[in-house]
């Protein structure tokens, strides 16, 4: 197995989960209805759990720093999350659309990773996939409901989709070791993932009365550490406590 390649893959997955998890947690206490408050909080907790597990594997198998340091003490340019996940949450429609795009991609990614030649990652993938299944179920329910509920809900969902779609395509930005990952059987590749993702989301979007914009160009950069202006304030907020007393024990 090419270690650098596996490291790169896991780091971007962990960063996605951590940053997306933090964005989801912003609904805790202010969800539009109680069940949604609980749902977003629960999904957030799962995501941060996934990030923790991946960071732990990075520490254990590749000698990287411990999960707290990896999660909270790196420079902005060292984060490999996609820009989709770092964007500040515009409104509930945007939160749902991001959730829909992201969790479908995650579900397929972890499904494919069950066959990874990297045994620890394959074992974790089996577990994580079962949890994401519930996240997808939640996203689909609300996208279908609000896509076709009222004129206002429809137009807000469509506007959110139009804004988020180019960023969602950026989820599949290939990393520098794409070919090595494919050759060594660690991961089947971002191209295959994107193709399966599009096949999966298309019928649901149609059923919801929404439309995917055609000829959309992906907004990329996150995987190489080039981020939107929304990431820096988020990292600052996330690491505020840990930075107030570096090295403190909890």
């Amino acid at each position: 197995m090419n270690k650098e390649a596996a490291k790169e893959l896991m780091l971007k997955m962990a960063d996605d989960a951590l940053i997306y998890g933090h964005r989801l947690s912003e609904w805790t206490g202010i969800g539009p209805i109680l069940e949604e408050d609980i749902a977003f909080s629960s999904i957030s907790q799962d995501k941060v759990g996934h990030a923790w597990q991946l960071y732990q594997l990075l520490e254990q198998d590749f000698g990287m720093p411990d999960p707290d340091r990896l999660g909270f003490e790196r420079k902005e340019s060292e984060y490999k999350c996609s820009q989709l996940n770092e964007l500040y949450t515009r409104d509930y429609a945007f939160a749902l659309i991001r959730h829909f795009f992201m969790d479908h991609a995650e579900f397929i990614r972890y499904s494919l990773l069950r066959a990874s030649s990297y045994e620890s990652l394959a074992q974790l993938a089996k577990k994580v996939r079962g949890e994401i299944k519930y996240h997808v179920l939640h996203a689909d329910t609300w996208v279908k409901k609000l896509g076709a509920a009222t004129e206002e809900s429809h137009s807000r969902m469509q506007a959110a989709l139009n804004e988020a779609f180019p960023y969602a395509l950026g989820l599949f930005e290939p990393g520098p070791f794409e070919q090595e990952l494919i050759d060594s059987g660690v991961f089947i590749g971002e191209g295959q993932l994107q193709a399966e993702w599009l096949d999966e989301i298309r019928p649901i979007i149609e059923e919801s009365g929404l439309q995917l914009t055609s000829n959309t160009e992906a907004i990329t950069g996150g995987r190489s550490g080039n981020h939107s202006s929304d990431l820096a304030p988020l990292l600052e907020e996330m690491s505020e406590v840990i930075c107030s007393e570096p090295g403190a024990s909890w």
């Binding site: 609980i38 749902a39 629960s42 999904i43 799962d46 923790w52 620890s120 577990k127 949890e131 519930y134």
Partner: protein, 179 residues
Amino acid sequence: MLGAGRQLVKNPMDMTQESIEKIKEIWQALKGVEDPEIPVISIVDMGIVTDVTIDETGRVMVEMTPTFTGCPAIEVMKKGIEKKLSELGVKDYRVALNYKTTWTSNRITEEGRDKLEKFGLGRPASHEGEPGMEAIASARCPHCGSENTTLKSVFGSTLCRSIHICHDCRQSFERFKPV
């Protein structure tokens, strides 16, 4: 007790009678470690403990698999196991968390399911490897036993619970999710 049985037949020739007895004793003691989020059920009934072994140096190894990756109770349970081992006089031990065995709700013992229901949590439906929508949505009310219920939300007060409503006793209830 599935895990204990599996352990005992795995390598019976390699272990001394003393080790076999010790392992039995440890499994029994671990039945006294509770799941902190559902304090009526032990981590053994939950299927969280996957293996107990003793190596040739006498070191005890307890392996556990988490119910949910983000479960905040994992560390508490790990400490609970360590405390129990100390109480048994085991000095050299290691408690390891891994995903060699994937936890699913099918791992909860029948006794455990009864305890969940008594506690007020609907029992998870058994499934063939992956719960379908039917298994996720249909639940038996733990208050009155009615099957005439509706899924209200797949997320509840902890990661492992969903929220349902019973149309017969007209109460809402939480149910342990089938995963």
